[in-house]
Amino acid sequence: MKTIQKFAFILGAATVLFSCDNADNNSPDLPLEAILVEDLAAPNDLIDRNTNQVLEVRPFQYFSLEKNELVAENEDWDLAFKGTTIRVNNTKNVNASIVTGIFEEIKEVPASATFATDTETSFAIPTGSGTGWYNYNSATFTVTPIPGRVILVKTTKGNYVKMEILSYYKGNPPLEQIDPRTTPSAHYTFRYILQPNGSTKF
């Protein structure tokens, strides 16, 4: 991880300083910090386009939302990235759900959200264009996160996270500057908010 930026409102920071014990308080008074993760590189396997054969298997990149860092496979990772595929840690009972809406407006895990974990045959965050977090444009050969798709994750610690993927290209370039032939892909930029108290509210 090259840089981890934290967006914290000054008010939020101030509140942290004077925070009281919120265990008896269901609705968090603290505005939670949105964490921006930039350029998480997760290159896909090398595949021969003609034969569909995998020539070189590359590893998943295991990420802990709780720690906001890459971790080893045997540690408590929440999400694993490789190419456009995002796995959730089904051995540690991580669940995910995709909802439609505006990141800031999602103040709470909606009752309608259906959480699932990865199985042998399915991903909690579906892959494929249009079905999960991205659209693949076959005219421009570009992978673009679908605006308004928010991924909800229940972490290894049972905390809820709302997460929005912003870019699949290195440096989170403006859309018009993406050239799929030259701009390095499989570089995730995303932001997320983790509610550490286990409540469903953000």
């Binding site: 020539l55 595929t85 439609t100 990141f103 045959t121 892959t127 249009g130 605006p147 859309l175 018009e176």
Partner: protein, 766 residues
């Protein structure tokens, strides 16, 4: 010099010996003829206060009782009103053809010859002169200058009309449907312009007489007719990108038989808009066309004609492929051939009946090979073979001068074999259509049509259409038509069996979805079935309902304004949708009738002759084309966009730019000037295409961001031409003189300069 004119003597004698009684009988015996003196056999003479009288086969009519006023009218001709004295004074009553222009006759609109002015539906006719003015060599270059028409680039140069893509526009060659589409596009570059007599552009659905494909309109290409005399014309055109186009027209004709041979060859080096990448935008290609037309009069009642056309195109190029061992160069070689045979037998037992038996047999095939340059191994090989046959019997019955009824019966066979389709596939269809052309009153024309199609795959389908015209004033007529159109799913949507190995997805035609999914299931590749394939397969025709209305107005004798407004509601559009998720995370897709689209707009053409040698015309088209499902999702707040600061917000209706690749505004300005002293004709055209959606960039798949538009542009074109007294024709000019190019328009090569010559050899010898 001392020859005696016998006619004059006869006339003199008759004048000398005739009695007054004899003269009066003769004076009431008249002949109704057109400007060239041919009898108009369907004319009607109406005397005030008396019953209408039909003329006989030779245009003769006898009026017994005098009347104050006499009206003479005939379909396709300007009516005349005469006093009794005027009637007596003329021996032959000449009627002017209604449009005033002889070749503004339209065949495709009603399948019978009608003048444009009589047609209650929007029709544009491009005659030889207008075609020549464009300097075009391929058909796309002529059509792109017409109001409301765009040439799109998707597996060839396709026509877009009333916001509908090439898939929904029927292309006719001498009235017979042309086959051979790639990904739905009929490539207009397959048609050479050199021997086209005229082009009819019929807007709005015409399935009521043509069935499938004629959903957005019809383009009828009419090749030059064989003449009853010998001619041998040689031509050569040269233009930028090392393009050469020699052609030859050879005709022989006797009294009853004539034949015309046309040979055309086109060769170009192609062009490249993106020199930084390997491979050209348009690859070098060669195209040869050969045509033979034989027409004969067997008797005064039987006509026969045979039309044959062959086309062969080869192109080659290179492409870069990313393989395991880095990038590799691929050599591409593509072939495309088509062949049509079209015999016609026409029986005209009398002036009221015409019976036409037509056949159309076509073969179309493509072959595309790409090979690795280093190993010479085959990377990809695609073949496609299509066969089409149609037999049709059409009967036209002129019940009286105001009613013309046509009845058609037809049968069709279509087969296809292709690399991506399994086995050989055959479709059978039959149809019957009936059409009634009715002029209930002098200023009213009504055309009603109904066609029933029976298809072994899609069942039966009824397509009605009614069009009406009312001539409100002598210089103003108003038209309206309501009609239905349809398009049967194409082969790809039914039969495709495709696996994109590179991306790992599958696409199955509707007929193969169930089978394909069960095969993938056996192989253990399916993670989850999204739509039960048993329920797939009933792919229906795409349908449209449309209204067209407008007017034709002649503010002055030297100016005219045509306007047409339209609304097309298109349903059951076929799209791919995932039917199963694979274990790889990719999807398998099939085709469904899911989309609904609306296209609407206004098209205006105005023309004025400012001077004898200077005319001006302007055209403007407004187009609004949108996807109704997208609108619904916007209204439900389900579509979002992100700005440059990565803030997400809901897309509003105001953000939505409609369908991709449609220009909201387009137009043209044309000036035609003949320089008097040199006799050179100058045709200057400015063709404007407004900005249009190019591709989704922000991931929500709809057009809603300024960056997703390609900029508008203007092409300035100039053609100078001169026909010498001996018939030699010379031309020179250029298109897109400002050299404006955009990657969003890969069929626009930039500035093209051209010169050409056509020599009528036999004219020069004689």
């Amino acid at each position: 010099m001392s020859r005696i004119n016998l006619n004059k003597i006869k006339l003199l004698l008759s004048l000398l010996f005739c009695t007054s009684a004899f003269a009066s009988v003769r004076d009431t015996d008249k002949r109704i003829v057109d400007v060239s003196g041919n009898p108009i056999a369907h004319a009607v003479v109406k005397l005030e206060g008396q019953k209408a009288i039909f003329v006989d086969e030779l245009g003769n009519v006898t009026v017994q009782n005098p009347s104050e006023r006499i009206f003479i009218f005939a379909l396709g001709f300007e009516s005349r009103e005469l006093t009794w004295d005027e009637w007596l004074a003329e021996k032959e009553i000449i009627l002017q053809e209604k449009s005033g222009i002889l070749h503004e006759v339209v065949v495709s609109a009603t399948r019978t010859e009608r003048s444009v002015e009589q047609l209650p539906m929007p029709v544009t006719v491009l005659d030889t002169e207008k075609i020549t003015q464009t300097g075009g060599i391929r058909l796309s270059e002529v059509l792109r200058e017409q109001t409301g028409i765009q040439i799109t680039s998707d597996h060839g140069s396709g026509i877009q009309m009333q916001g509908l893509d090439s898939d929904y526009i029927l292309i006719l060659l001498d009235g017979e449907p042309m086959i051979g589409r790639t990904a739905g596009t009929f490539d207009l570059d397959r048609i050479s312009v050199s021997n086209i007599e005229r082009i009819e552009i019929l807007r709005g659905p015409s399935s009521a007489i043509y069935g499938s494909e004629a959903m957005g309109g019809v383009i009828n290409i009419i090749t030059k007719p064989s003449k009853n005399r010998a001619n041998l014309d040689l031509g050569m055109r040269h233009r930028s990108f090392n393009s050469w186009n020699p052609f030859l027209e050879f005709g022989v004709g006797k009294k009853n038989w004539s034949s015309q041979v046309f040979l055309d060859h086109f060769k170009t080096d192609g062009f490249d808009l993106t020199p930084e990448t390997v491979g050209q935008t348009q690859n070098p290609y060669m195209a040869s066309t050969g045509q033979l037309k034989v027409t004969g009069t067997l008797s005064d009642k039987f006509n026969v004609s045979i039309f044959g056309r062959g086309y062969k195109e080869t192109s080659h190029g290179i492409l870069e492929a990313n393989g395991n061992s880095g990038t590799q160069i691929l050599d591409l070689a593509n072939n495309r051939t088509d062949f049509n045979l079209n015999p016609t037998l026409r029986f005209k037992p009398n002036t009221d009946w015409t019976i036409t038996l037509r056949g159309m047999t076509s073969w179309f095939s493509t072959n595309a090979v790409s090979k690795f340059r280093t190993s010479n191994g085959i990377f990809d090989l695609q073949e496609f073979n299509q066969f089409f046959h149609r037999t049709e019997l059409q009967t036209d019955f002129m019940a009286n001068p105001r009613n013309l009824v046509s009845l058609g019966l037809g049968q069709q066979i279509e087969t296809v074999e292709a690399t991506r389709y399994d086995g050989s596939n055959r479709f059978d269809a039959g149809y019957v259509f009936v059409q009634h052309i009715w002029d209930p009153r002098e200023r009213i024309n009504i055309v009603t049509g109904l066609r029933a199609d029976f298809h072994n795959q899609f069942g039966s389908r009824l397509s009605p259409k009614i069009s009406g015209q009312y001539q409100i004033w002598d210089n103003f007529s108003w038209q309206a038509s309501i009609g239905a159109g349809f398009k049967t799913p194409d082969f790809r949507q039914l039969l495709l069996n495709f696996n994109n190995a590179a991306a790992g997805y599958y696409v199955f035609g509707a007929n193969l979805a169930a089978e394909g999914i069960s095969r993938l299931q056996e192989q253990g590749l399916i993670a989850q079935i999204l739509i039960n394939p048993v329920t797939i397969g009933d792919l229906n025709a795409e349908t449209s309902r449309a209204i067209n209305t407008g007017f034709r107005w002649k503010p002055t004798p030297k100016s005219q304004v045509h306007l047409n407004a339209y609304h097309n509601a298109i349903d059951n559009l076929i799209e791919t949708a995932p039917i199963a998720r694979l274990v790889t995370g990719q999807n398998a897709f099939s085709y469904f009738n899911i989309r609904s689209v609306v296209t609407q707009g206004i098209e205006v053409d105005a023309q004025i002759d400012l001077l004898d040698n200077l005319s001006l015309s302007a055209g403007y088209a407004f187009l609004d084309a949108r996807d109704l499902e997208v609108i619904e999702r916007i209204d439900n707040g389900e579509i979002f966009k992100r700005n440059a600061q990565n803030q997400t917000r809901r897309v509003t209706r105001a953000d939505y730019g409609g369908l991709f690749n449609r220009s909201r505004h387009s137009g043209n300005l044309k000036i035609n000037y003949q320089e008097r002293t040199s006799g050179v004709d100058l045709a200057f055209r400015a063709i404007f295409r407004g900005k249009f959606g190019f591709a989704d960039l922000n991931g929500n798949l709809i057009l809603d961001d300024e960056r997703e538009y390609a900029p508008g542009w203007v092409s300035f074109n100039l053609t100078a031409s001169k026909t010498f007294g001996n018939g030699v024709f010379l031309e020179a000019g250029g298109t897109n003189l400002l050299d404006t190019v955009t990657p969003a328009q890969p069929n626009n090569p930039g500035r093209v300069l051209f010169i050409g010559i056509k020599i009528p050899i036999l004219n020069l010898i004689n």
